[in-house]
């Protein structure tokens, strides 16, 4: 256990030095001044470093071992990209600099947009959304604005399968639209007949992740997107699972009209413990008038930022998006090129199918009617007879030195374990993880307490989430130091 930084504080210590003030002072009017101390810690740089490094050692991370979180695409984050994004000339430019003084950055943003359009099969792009969920919001707003512009503003329903990411319905609410849930069929794919029944004159859009959240490709995708088009709606693809599709198939060729990408998944930018990500949105040309503010265009003399026209959905952030993240994704695509990106998806598919094949004798894999894509969903429900839940399996994996898969999602699979290895894991690493999963399945039968008591080899034992909600403790009280 590590103390909080506030508990190291001692009056008079400081961790940074500033030049002495070299201009005359101007008094601060008393009525505006802060009355009491803020309560910031007072420590030296060395103490701060020791504290945060100690904290870091309590974190699992990608450079420790496999991080097979389904739908999160935890692939290796190249060290080079961290260097590139920090180059002084890129990192230190003001966002409201005149265009001709930021030609390097504008070129990277423009070229990255061109690459992403090629990868997705679309014509136009915005790189402004800060994350996948903001990309979804952007995509839905493009569709909504388009519907309004053609006099179909009454269309307020967004159809989506019951296996969709939680952000999909939450985004609909933010966009002022209504969710209509579409059933999945017995193979985990969209129930086409149910979709046909629900698509109609109020359909604004259809949202689908493809491959879907079960890791299954929607084989009837052309029929699905056609049904929506015939009903007067547009098709939105949640690109969270694009790591399966690079150079293999493109949303633009499947009948989708708009999609977002998660640069922090498919394009290797780091997750940062929860962010920053980036959620660029690619779309067909006819949706481009509705794109958010500030797109970069190539003009006669270099690149320039173009302000949005009157039909734009508006502005998502104060400035131009998570540009530092865009630098990294650009570097990734430049390093791999077309053959390298295609290899990414090929190996992601092989790795996932290999794990599925090895795990299948030990874990139920519902909806398994052929090859999966880059991930698959197993179930821990067979362990239920020993009193072992999927949560226990996940915690026991931590004891074995691995991160757990995504659990209890998608909601349509009981006791779900959603496993995505990514292409950057070696065969040895996949085998080690699978061996641990098999050992846990055996433990569940023979010594279930080992699983239900897990984890025991972690910085803390299993944590009480109910207490955290009941006795809310969200900040260190100031009084405790005084």
């Amino acid at each position: 256990m590590e103390k909080t930084i506030f508990q190291y504080s001692c009056p008079g210590r400081i961790g940074v030095s500033l030049p002495a003030l070299d201009v005359p002072e101007t008094s601060v009017p008393g009525r505006f001044s802060r009355k009491d101390p803020i309560g910031l810690p007072e420590v030296t740089e060395g103490q701060a470093m020791r504290h945060f490094v100690r904290l870091s050692t309590m974190n699992f991370n990608l450079e420790k071992s496999i991080y097979p979180l389904g739908s999160c695409t935890m692939k290796y984050n190249p060290r080079l990209h961290e260097f590139l994004a920090r180059i002084e000339g890129l990192a230190s430019v003001h966002p409201l600099s005149p265009d001709d003084t930021v030609q390097g950055t504008l070129k990277i943003i423009h070229e990255l947009g061109v690459y992403l359009c090629e990868i997705t099969g679309f014509d136009a792009v915005t790189l402004q959304p800060a994350a996948g969920a903001q990309g979804e919001f952007t995509g839905l707003m493009l569709i909504k604005k388009w519907q309004e512009a053609r006099g179909e503003g009454h269309r307020n329903e967004v159809l989506m399968p019951d296996s969709s990411h939680g952000t999909n319905p939450a985004t609909c609410t933010l966009a002022g639209l209504k969710v209509v849930s579409v059933d999945s069929d017995s193979h985990g794919r969209v129930d086409v007949e149910d979709l046909r029944r629900k698509a109609g004159e109020n359909t604004c859009a259809f949202m689908l992740t493809n491959p879907n959240t079960l890791g299954i490709f929607e084989s009837s995708i052309k029929e699905i997107t056609q049904i929506i088009h015939d009903a007067g709606g547009l098709n939105y693809m949640d690109g969270a699972n694009m790591n399966a599709m690079l150079g293999i198939a493109r949303p633009g060729d499947m009948g989708f009209d708009v999609c977002h990408l998660n640069l922090h998944k498919t394009f290797s930018t780091p997750h940062g413990g929860g962010g920053p990500g980036a959620g660029p949105v690619c779309c067909r040309e006819f949706l481009s008038p509705f794109l958010p503010a500030s797109t970069v265009e190539k003009a006669e003399h270099g690149y320039r930022l173009r302000d949005a026209g009157g039909n734009s959905m508006g502005r998502l952030l104060a400035f131009h998006g998570n540009v530092g993240v865009l630098y990294r994704a650009y570097a990734y695509i430049r390093t791999l090129g077309a053959p390298g990106l295609n290899e990414v998806s090929q190996v992601a598919l092989i790795n996932a199918n290999y794990m599925k094949a090895r795990l299948k004798p030990y874990y139920e894999v519902p909806n398994d009617d052929g090859p999966c894509m880059h991930e698959f969903v197993a179930s821990g429900s067979a362990m239920g007879i020993h009193g072992v839940k999927t949560l226990d399996i996940a915690k026991r994996l931590l004891d074995y030195g691995f991160h757990a898969p995504t659990i209890y999602f998608p909601l349509i699979v009981k006791e779900a374990l959603m496993i995505e290895p990514t292409e950057t894991e070696s065969l040895e690493s996949l085998d080690a993880f699978v061996d641990a999963m098999i050992a846990i399945a055996e433990e569940a039968g023979e010594k279930p307490h080992l699983v239900t008591d897990a984890p025991v080899n972690t910085p803390v034992l299993r944590l009480d989430e109910v207490k955290a909600v009941k006795d809310l403790f969200l900040v260190e009280p100031f009084e405790s130091e005084e």
């Binding site: 600099s97 996948g132 969920a133 933010l174 920053p276 508006g314 400035f319 070696s426 984890p455």
Partner: protein, 448 residues
């Protein structure tokens, strides 16, 4: 085989055998031929690390703005960033980790967020804070939506002295539903016109949104605004600059119900606008209406202290369409930068940063007003940023000053052709300020 993929032909063949597939193409059987990509993607040829480094250095060299001495703010500020911050941010344990869903192996991230929440709550004078939002502007927009949830009212009053980009973002977030935004004009001092606010608040409003210091750098009277909107049963949402809070009274202590802001000035590079981080803090009364992730302290099975994500029933992965927000990924690593920054500067260093910004911006203001023809625009007290009126086009002056090595203030054509919003942080030296004033004086003399 690329440098990122360890499984070569030998391993792949072995794996395909275990899968029971003859060739890789068998795995593509669920994908109809009609949607498969024919041929290869049209992308530039792959390059090596050596070549890419060179390419990036060349591109960075084209960003001449990086060499300019910066007097521009308007939402992004050129503050000093202590070196130790990046040493922490580049640790694999922090930057390659995912959202801390498996709390037992994420205590580093979780405790750091707990400390971040504490720092933000103390800085803003509020009871609690969340784990971060995308940026300051989207945080304010989400704060407005939160006020709508808290009050059940659908109308938001927004001070006209709000950063216009933030105003744009508020419209993007709020215009989709039957919510209404009413802009309250500012008075001759550039401050919220309380009389107009009073009239607009009649009939009740969910919130009044006020920037502190406002877009023009002027220091708003938060207490009066709070008193006004509270009488009309609405919340006061303050969009606060965190550095200014080093010397100015915390908005939470002046009656603000929600305080949101942009964390970029606290140890984050300007990086052409991102990644930044939005913060959001509130009182105990409204915590459960807050969007975004929140970390709480709890105990493990042995009674040891530990941290977990808490109040998750507000969030999209549980509540789906009824969640308080659609936010999932946030800006965690940038929040960590804020945490390390506030730790390194600490109580006295942080106050010193704010104090130097105050003195240097006032010195800049004085020097500029000494130039013949340059006048002040608003008569109110300001902090770090202010507006002056040039006797020439501010746009033309800014262009000309680029050639002299300066990124001048931001032209504000809405306030007049000569209006310019300028800023001086603790990084600007007396010599730089004098040099800039001289260069501007020289330009004006020639141009008039």
């Amino acid at each position: 085989m690329s440098i990122f993929v360890p499984n070569g032909k030998a391993q792949r063949d072995r794996m395909l055998e275990v899968i029971g597939a003859e060739r890789f193409e068998d795995l593509l059987s669920p994908i109809p031929q009609s949607v498969r990509l024919k041929g290869e993607l049209d992308l530039p040829l792959p390059v090596s690390e050596l070549e890419l480094k060179k390419e990036f250095k060349d591109l960075a060299g084209k960003n001449t703005s990086a060499d300019l001495i910066c007097f521009r703010g308007a939402g992004s500020y050129d503050h000093y960033i202590p070196t130790a911050i990046d040493s922490i941010l580049t640790r694999s344990e922090f930057f390659t980790a995912y959202t801390p869903y498996q709390a037992e192996v994420s205590q580093g991230t979780l405790q750091a967020i707990f400390e971040y929440q504490t720092l933000i709550a103390r800085l803003t004078g509020c009871d609690a804070a969340n784990a971060s939002m995308y940026d300051g502007s989207s945080a304010v927009a989400e704060a407005a939506l939160m006020a709508i949830r808290c009050t059940g009212k659908k109308r938001i009053l927004v001070a006209g002295s709000l950063n216009p980009r933030t105003m744009d973002v508020m419209h993007t977030y709020l215009d989709n539903s039957d919510f209404q935004i009413n802009e309250v004009p500012f008075d001759k001092d550039g401050l919220l016109d309380l009389g107009s606010a009073e009239k607009l608040a009649e009939g009740g409003a969910a919130a009044l949104v006020l920037q502190y210091p406002n877009f023009f750098g002027s220091i708003e009277d938060v207490s009066s605004a709070a008193e006004l909107i509270h009488r009309h049963k609405g919340l006061l949402v303050v969009f606060a600059d965190p550095v200014s809070l080093g010397i100015l009274e915390a908005p939470g202590k002046l009656g603000a119900d929600v305080v949101a802001g942009e964390g970029q000035p606290l140890g984050i590079a300007m990086s052409f606008g991102g990644p930044y981080v939005g913060f959001m803090a509130t009182s105990n009364e409204y915590i459960r209406k807050m969007p975004g992730r929140i970390v709480g302290r709890t105990e493990d099975r042995a009674g040891n202290t530990g941290y977990v994500l808490t109040l998750q029933t507000r969030e999209q992965h549980i509540k789906r369409a009824k969640a308080t927000s659609n936010i999932c990924s946030n800006q965690a690593l940038m929040a960590l930068a804020n945490t390390v920054y506030l730790t390194l500067t600490g109580e006295s260093g942080f106050a010193e940063v704010a104090r130097q910004c105050w003195h240097k911006s006032h010195y800049l203001h004085k020097k500029l007003l000494e130039i013949p023809g340059v006048t002040g625009v608003f008569d109110s007290p300001f902090c770090r940023e202010f507006v002056v009126n040039l006797p020439v086009s501010a746009q033309n002056a800014a262009c000309a000053l680029v050639d002299k090595g300066y990124l001048a203030g931001l032209p504000l054509p809405g306030l007049g052709v000569g209006a310019m919003l300028l800023c001086a942080t603790e990084k600007r030296t007396k010599a730089e300020i004098d040099g800039f004033a001289e260069a501007l004086a020289g330009y004006i003399k020639e141009a008039v």
